[in-house]
Symmetry: C2
Subunit: 272 residues, 2 copies
Amino acid sequence: MHTPVTQRQPLTVVKVGGKIVENDAALADLVKKFAALPGRKMLVHGGGRTATDIAARLGIETQMVAGRRVTDAEMLRVVTMVYAGLVNKNVVAQLEAAGTTALGLTGADMDVVRAHKRTGTAVDYGFVGDVDAVDGHRLSGLIETGVVPVMAPLTHDGHGTMLNTNADTMASEVAKALAAVGYDVKLVFCFEFAGVLADPADERSVIPTIDHKSFEQLRADGTVSGGMLPKLENCLGAIDAGVAEVVITRADLIGLPGGTSIRKNADEIGQN
Amino acid sequence: MHTPVTQRQPLTVVKVGGKIVENDAALADLVKKFAALPGRKMLVHGGGRTATDIAARLGIETQMVAGRRVTDAEMLRVVTMVYAGLVNKNVVAQLEAAGTTALGLTGADMDVVRAHKRTGTAVDYGFVGDVDAVDGHRLSGLIETGVVPVMAPLTHDGHGTMLNTNADTMASEVAKALAAVGYDVKLVFCFEFAGVLADPADERSVIPTIDHKSFEQLRADGTVSGGMLPKLENCLGAIDAGVAEVVITRADLIGLPGGTSIRKNADEIGQN
């Protein structure tokens, strides 16, 4: 499976949230646009509200701490059902109908994403996994045969236990691992806005490029703050680890120019 | 992916029911024995009671007609969650822990098993799929890189809809397709008994071999009857379609000699 990537082949990793893949119309639009993306690619999807709804119908209470789901043994069963079963297979079946050779995966499948249960935090998040290793060679082996991996936000600990893992983190870690095996990786995060906005009230105020230097300025002058700070730090971390470009855009704008492009050094490449 | 199988490599397809994979102790035993099977292999698992239990907890009534689940839109969501999510990923994670490179699949993944919704029957079974095509080349492509496919009893119609498909049928169809691409396929069905019994009251009365000729005798003299008839017809159909051997045994006896061996011509090969 250790297919050498002889040239730096371009590869796009798209991360899309639960909101999109759980909505029939939004999913249909995503599938159309994602299927039309040229070249090597893969999709990482989030979980979303279905898990909360199913849990409620099963009489299981959802506990969120700082925006993160607390995953006890019962909730782990729910997210495994919903993310890897319902959501993942629906996306795969739609992509297949659009002519894409899609393969649904969790981190447990072929051991592609190994994690460990998060411990030592003030809050016990339960069966939540922090990523230890992504097998870029296995993913590359699939991709080089024309397969488009579709990854649910679940990992495993290597000892038989599934773990709930943040989809943004999965996408970054997968992108880094694919960069490490030789791809020229573009990581696309689909957000609710068309990019990082200079003025949150004006969706036309998309900041076209961000690099380390401009990020520091945007943070210092308060243009980016709150939840956008860790997101951008995650993006810059991916860049530092070898991902060529991270784009923040809206799901319906996939494949179109625009969004915010995060790069190692925006000046060198120029604003596009 | 069209890996040519240059020699007739042996390959074992094991089908195991929902009862086994849903029971922690039975699953642990199966994983140990399946992981220890030498050579190329894959697993097809059934669904079982968890879907019925989860459906009941969700307030969805399970309707069975002639031992088959009626799958309306709500039930399709449940079986997709349970078979492809909960059950499949639990099996995959356990196999990975046992050192097997397992990949969970439904028929939708990489379009490996395409089906059509069953119509024109007296009973409307809903979203139940009859298999049209198995992509043996895709499966072979995975297997030849050391991957062990783990298949849930779900297919798709190629137009974005998942379909519920009988696991025995899936196993037979997959075995036939793998025989057609050049493997020397042994298909193992795990039943509740150690094989086909000459005397249902005596588990030591396993009939060691069955072929077309002896099947006709066993049917004529009433030794096999009822639900065992279609099962054996299914086995003989697989043999006629190129599967080298079908074995009926108990899950805990996998890898051991014994069980009932169904072959093209038992006399030629002899009793073993």
